[in-house]
């Protein structure tokens, strides 16, 4: 197990290294980062001076080395718009994004796991059919349209819930539902197929043949094994949630990292964009590493590798 975890840790470091490179290289896509960062009407003299100050005249890899050294210490430079360190700006907004993504994930798990289990246990029943079609339907709803429709119904028509901002429970409901629906649909389908597969295994048939009643079979034997792919997908879905938060936060004016980065891109505030992308990607990598550690406890077969 130790070698497995050590290898996973090394892999995560390699991934983060790659992430840092891409985050850095984005600025160089047009060939001249000075023109990306400065307003379009900057004079040639300003551009020249800016290049000098920012060190854009150095070789590419020298600049990357400098970026990496800064990034490791949490230094992504000053926000061009706010004049504060970009890293601090992003870290300030992280709790809001985690709150939203966490609420969406909890909602998804609370709905999807029971729905998936029921669907699998009562396979081909009307309930299974409805759950499957609803899940497919849920996967097809574009997040931003769902958000707008929820605002239309719950805020504009009935004035039940606020359409923007953060603070109370009421503020959290619409964004969390919007963000969580796709994940709910995904996890429902995965739980169903995972349970179905386990329920068809020999050891379940043996347990049943030995006269174990149905509910304990489902709970004790099947769910534990079906949980393994669910744990994996939770890690991957977190990526979907963090990415989806960009859209959801924009629609509901939720003061998180996603909204901050959309605004930063509009303002050409690239240090903030770099810090935001890097921190969100790091979160994703760290969570998936944790998921893999949990995984080794759930599935002893991996420990033996």
């Amino acid at each position: 197990m130790k070698t497995f975890l050590l290898r996973r840790l090394l892999q995560s470091l390699v991934v983060l290294f790659g992430v840092s490179f891409i985050v850095f290289a984005i600025l160089f896509l047009t060939g001249d980062p000075a023109l990306v960062l400065l307003p379009p009407d900057a004079s040639a003299e300003d551009v020249r001076q800016f290049r000098e100050v920012m060190g854009f005249n150095d070789p590419f890899f020298v600049q990357y080395g400098r970026f990496l050294k800064g990034a490791l210490r949490g230094d992504f430079g000053q926000s061009i718009r706010h004049g504060e360190p970009a890293f601090d700006l992003v870290v300030e907004r992280l709790p809001a994004t985690f709150e939203l993504a966490g609420a969406a994930l909890l909602l998804a798990l609370a709905l999807a796991i029971p729905a998936g289990i029921l669907s699998a246990v009562r396979r081909n029943s009307p309930l299974d059919y409805v759950a499957t079609v609803v899940a497919l339907f849920g996967q097809s709803l574009p997040t931003f349209w769902l958000g707008i429709m929820l605002i239309l119904v719950f805020s504009v028509q009935f004035h039940w819930l606020p359409s923007s901002g953060r603070g109370t429970m009421q503020h959290l409901i619409l964004p969390a539902v919007t963000l969580g629906l796709f994940t709910t649909a995904r996890i429902t389908r995965l739980t169903r197929s995972g349970m179905l597969e386990v329920l068809n295994q020999d050891y379940i048939r043996t347990a049943r043949a030995k006269g174990v009643n149905d509910p304990p079979v489902v709970w004790k034997h099947a769910l534990k094994n079906a949980a393994i792919p669910i744990v994996t997908i939770v890690g991957i879905e977190l990526g979907t949630l963090l990415g989806g938060s960009v859209i959801t936060e924009t629609i509901f004016a939720w003061p998180g990292v996603g909204r901050l980065s959309v605004q930063a891109i509009a303002n050409r505030d690239y240090p903030v964009v770099q810090a935001a992308v890097f921190l969100l990607a790091t979160t994703f990598v760290v969570v998936n590493l944790l998921v893999d550690i949990v995984y080794t406890y759930l599935d002893p077969r991996i420990r033996l590798r």
Binding site: L16, L141, G243, I265, A276
Partner: protein, 328 residues
Amino acid sequence: MSRFASRPGGSAPGAGLGAPVGVSGPASAVALPDEGRPERREWLVFLRRLIARRTALFGLIVVAIVVVTALAAPLLSPFDPIEQDLGDLRLKAPGFRDDNGRMHLLGTDHLGRDLLARVIYGARPALLVGFAAVAISGLIGMAAGLISGYFGGRMDDVLMRLADIQLAFPFILLAIAVIGVLGPSLQTIIIVIGVSSWVVYARIVRGAVLTLREREFVQAALALGGGDGRVLLRHILPNVFTPWLVVATLDMARVIVIESALSFLGLGVQPPTPSWGAMLTAGRRYLGLANHLAIFPGAAIMLAVMGLNFLGDGLIDALDPKFRKLMR
């Protein structure tokens, strides 16, 4: 363990192996055994199974309608989608009749343009970006998956680590950052989405290749002196096509959502070209005044995406059971 010991190192799938050692010799010396064109037969079975599923058939019909709408937009559209009327034609409700007695079935938008015409024309950028981006990422992913699965070893490690790096990014954010630098245009979104979506394809193709590599007909082809290139292209490629197609169908649904999300944020298709996502931006602004502006373009996105998802889901069920596991 492989039933065929003829290929050293061919049994364990995955990392740690060098390139499989094919039996060397002139590739064309021995004619390969006639397989009775298994691809074609499998295709018929596949198609029959697909049509037998009601949800898949439903998906197929919806997708066909969207494609026909996009292709025949000028014939189907009752009005010009770009022509504005800033007079008394603005924000009219669905079913409104103008002075000439012509009905605006879905109403008009904030610039007095017919909404139905714009929804019809909006299918064009959605499908264009969908097909083009899927073609790019599908090709990259197919190549990466074939190489990774067939040769294994160092190549496999490198490609799969690249895949991890790709997956670590919140996709939308990466796309927004790149488009923010390059400036929004149809080509930019196609390339950004295309280049950064290859991972799903590569993973599925790789998994399929790993199972195929152990199959008798591949072993036989290698034993008879087929070179790696020939075996990959003639024997493995046709057999990984169906799982690839499933991924492409489901991925196209995702790409259409992303295209409209980017357009919604103002980073995709630029006005006045009608695009479902950009129409929703206006729809959101006029939500209290004219909610049809937000309802219909979004419904169009949902319908197209739903059609593709139902079709893709049906394709999974119609798929050879040995590949079905890969689709999770």
